[in-house]
Symmetry: C2
Subunit: 544 residues, 2 copies
């Protein structure tokens, strides 16, 4: 059970629809700041019953504390960020290694400490006897109840965002976990950096999401620009490898062994080195994160940055993405296991595409972001053009003022009505194209443009998505008619997160949809819609 | 092919019988000095054709050079020891890492460099395409020829010692190899030390012998004496292990992986972790050594120190040990593979025991060395008393003045005559004891006294040793009679190193010896001996 104490605030500030944000940090700034702070941070576990004040008083002997918080992981923990890195050395200087002859162990000195009162016996953690804990999120039933109390669908979406988005503490812990793994990797590669990527930093991460780590070894070569060294050139004699991929695999494998055998609190280490992108998977017990460590995965880092920019351009984007992702997970449209399901990434691309297609557009296309790019924004990675503007402040705010109520409804209508059979989705141009190949769902990879990021999705899963989208569009239309806002029945977004009465969660193709019952529903929906929004394109729904 | 250029001198100085040595270094001093120098040392490979002068000139830009030498390993190499460690940083500062995208490799920065002229293309070493080289020693035929030129058997023994003992350069390379592996291990365990032990440092090492390395992690715990830290005790959160043995295995395994995957020039890595003393075996190409890395092997280190002391007490000791080891290897009494053969260690113990039993004794017993021990010499390791005086200068020189001619002959007579069937050998008391168990050869382990270090030897091998010893005693008696010193036939020690005419090298028990032919030989030997040395104990030879 993980619970944070103290004030909870947000690294991605919440705005109401009308609020104008101050200068926004670039992705690189957020990364650099996070890593910098993490390197000055220690993690301290202590026995239950010691006062937090005493802990802080004691730790502050070693230096000024910049920030801190307490959490219940596997026992009580304090995360303490010092102002100066030297304070860590001061703490390390008084720290002892348990006598290995009485308590056998690997005498590695890290930034994980155990504090025990002098009087009592040492109660250092025995990680073998402990269950892994994961960061919990609010149960869906509680969420539904909470949403029902909101006064509009818009505020329901913001409320869901508030519950699910990463807290500042959680993000700090993610950077710290990276920094601790970086310590392990820097033992051999002092210039390397371990950076978080993916949902931890792309602004769309949900509490409890995995922590993707990127081991960046590229700086090692770069700092050694040829120097004037007289008649000779001096080169390090290095171990040669048959390919860059082999080098990556070897490095990940050995660092994985170090993590598994030396690093306290790293458990369940799995080497997945034959994957397209070789990775090391492990559970980082002190912070409670499931981690994937990769290397040579620079496109993914750039992808995270693109999402970060889209997520921070307009406050509605993240609220809509969180709501739709939550809806999709509730109904089994997305899944935590791999298979024919739509991924979170694909779903997010669909939402971005939808927002690019509002009139006026809420989000610019990737092509437009590329046009705004400076020379320093240019990134060609493995032959793929990953260029786009990195500074979000250079991008004009949208003039679109649609509320989230409208956008949520319109999203379901848009994709309930989309011609998936012949069209592909791409956020580069923000326009439908003819599908280059017959995958049921075709979403162009924004950087590796010959790839379909949703090639895994089968027709059955796509049909379920379409059917549910239509159903939800219909349900949202009912709000004004069927439910008063103080009704005890779930309403608005909350109604979409409970098992739908009219659509069973079991496998259901569009053919089933075309039953008499559904026809009635659709007719009522069309009538409704025509009444409310005039020309909106329900008529083009393809029922096959 | 390894060949040293420049002056070859000796870390274990050669003395003639009468010479009195100056103050002797302790084993610990030799170890500390070797490791200290090795840490200031780099290894540079360069293409054939560059002048050594140019190399030195270039390298000396980075700092004062303390010592250096060139050798042909896998291509030309220079070993350069700087006066200051900072010079290495200066060299590292200008050194580049090959661009990993064009030449994939592990970008580890070590103290192995490749120097290439600016004009030519980089010819960095490609270790995959290279055959391993080993340090060669003089072929036995050449040695025999050389020995024939000496003017006495004593000088034959010193000449053999001169050819076979480790040179100062070779010892420096051994310390350097340890220091490079220490760099790898220190990445995670900054206080650890990798020390050479065994034949590399016990003063009995032959050129080309394996390099035993001891990873000493004990300093890590020791430096962290409990400090006054107020109300709390701070402890590093470390990875717990079920046992010290498991911890050792894990550490060796991971460091082995690092060596295998990151460290340039380390090949053929084998993990032998289930052995009584877990070890990592690998070939260290830049220095050309076959290495065994162990941890928690402190008794072996103490054993090396004991041999070092015995080897340096009297100049005859090493000369005799080298000669008898060479003789034993020539006749297949010892072997480089494990099996029922007498080991070098066992053979050395027999020689030490023999020297303890001269009148007056040439070497003190281990019990006497223990009596001379100070408080600081006290070592109890795993319940075994390994205490003995560490300072060789505290040990009185022997009054025995027998020449090596006599000692060699007497050694063969002594063990040709020894009652192996009922007696055991132990250097602690320097006295025969009754065998505690029926192994053919029983030599008490000097520290783990319940163990027989020659439990592997079978009756057949022991019988071969005895038969050859008798034969050689007889052969040495012939010197004065059959061979003039300018004869073209091998004589003295040289005669013992060629296939013996009278004893075939094939399997031969004492029963075969007791043939009519041998009886004649022995009778002649007895008569001879009685003539020459009067009361010497040939009459007690047991022929069974």
């Amino acid at each position: 059970m993980l619970s944070f104490t103290g004030k909870v605030y947000f690294i991605f500030p919440l705005h109401t629809d009308s609020e104008v944000s101050a200068r926004k940090k670039t992705f690189t700034e957020v990364q650099a700041e996070g890593l910098e702070q993490a390197q000055k941070t220690v993690l301290i576990s202590y026995p239950t019953g010691i006062s937090k004040k005493n802990i802080l008083q004691y730790v502050s002997r070693h230096g000024k504390i910049n920030s801190h918080f307490f959490y219940e992981g596997h026992g009580p923990h304090a995360m303490v960020e010092f102002s100066e890195k030297e304070s860590i050395y001061s703490l390390q200087d008084v720290a002892q290694i348990a006598d290995c002859s009485s308590v056998p162990g690997i005498p590695l000195k890290s930034r994980l400490f155990t504090l025990t009162p002098r009087q009592s016996l040492s109660q250092a953690l025995d990680e073998t006897s402990v269950h892994n804990y994961q960061h919990p999120t609010i149960p869906i039933e509680d969420l539904v109840q909470k949403l029902c109390c909101a006064d509009s669908i818009s505020n329901q979406l913001y409320s869901l965002l508030n519950e699910y988005q990463l807290t500042e503490e959680n993000i700090k812990l993610r950077f710290l976990a990276c920094s601790l793994i970086q310590d392990i990797a820097r033992a051999y590669f002092p210039e390397c950096v371990v950076k978080p990527f993916g949902s931890s930093v792309n602004s769309f991460g949900k509490l409890g999401c995995d922590l993707d780590m990127f081991l960046d070894l590229d700086e090692i070569g770069k700092s050694s620009t040829p120097k004037k060294t007289g008649p000779f050139q001096v080169e390090y004699h290095i171990k040669r490898m048959p390919s860059l991929r082999t080098a990556t695999q070897r490095i990940l494998s050995v660092i994985g062994d170090c993590i598994a055998n030396f690093s306290p609190g790293c458990t369940h280490v799995q080497k997945i080195l034959d994957a397209r992108c070789p990775l090391m998977r492990f559970f980082h017990q002190p912070t409670g994160f499931q981690c994937d460590l990769t290397a040579n995965n620079r496109v993914a880092l750039r992808s995270s940055e693109l999402l970060y920019i889209y997520g921070n351009l307009d406050s509605r984007v993240r609220a809509l993405v969180f709501a739709i992702r939550c809806w999709a997970r509730t109904h089994g449209i997305t899944s935590s296991t791999s298979g024919p399901w739509i991924t979170n990434f694909s779903l997010t691309m669909m939402i971005l595409f939808f927002l690019q297609n509002r009139k006026p557009p809420i989000l610019p296309t990737l092509a437009e972001l590329k046009n705004l790019a400076d020379a320093e924004d240019e990134h060609i990675i493995g032959g793929h053009d990953c260029t786009f503007v990195s500074n979000p402040n250079k991008i004009n705010q949208t003039e679109n003022t649609e509320t989230l109520d409208v956008l949520l409804n319109e999203f379901f209508e848009y994709f309930g009505n989309f011609d998936f059979s012949s069209k592909s989705i791409n956020i580069c141009e923000g326009k439908e194209h003819n599908k280059p190949e017959p995958s049921p769902l075709y979403i162009q990879n924004p950087f590796e443009r010959a790839l379909n990021i949703s090639a895994n999705v089968n027709q059955n899963q796509l049909d379920r998505f379409v059917a549910l989208a239509r159903e939800c569009a219909w349900l949202l239309q009912q709000v004004d008619q069927d439910h008063g806002r103080d009704s005890k029945q779930p309403w608005g977004l909350a109604a979409l997160l409970v098992p739908l009465i009219k659509i069973s969660k079991k496998k259901m193709g569009t053919r089933t949809l075309a039953s008499a019952r559904i026809k009635v529903l659709l007719n009522s929906l069309r009538a409704n819609s025509a009444n409310k929004k005039g020309e909106r394109a329900f008529s083009s729904w393809s029922l096959k």
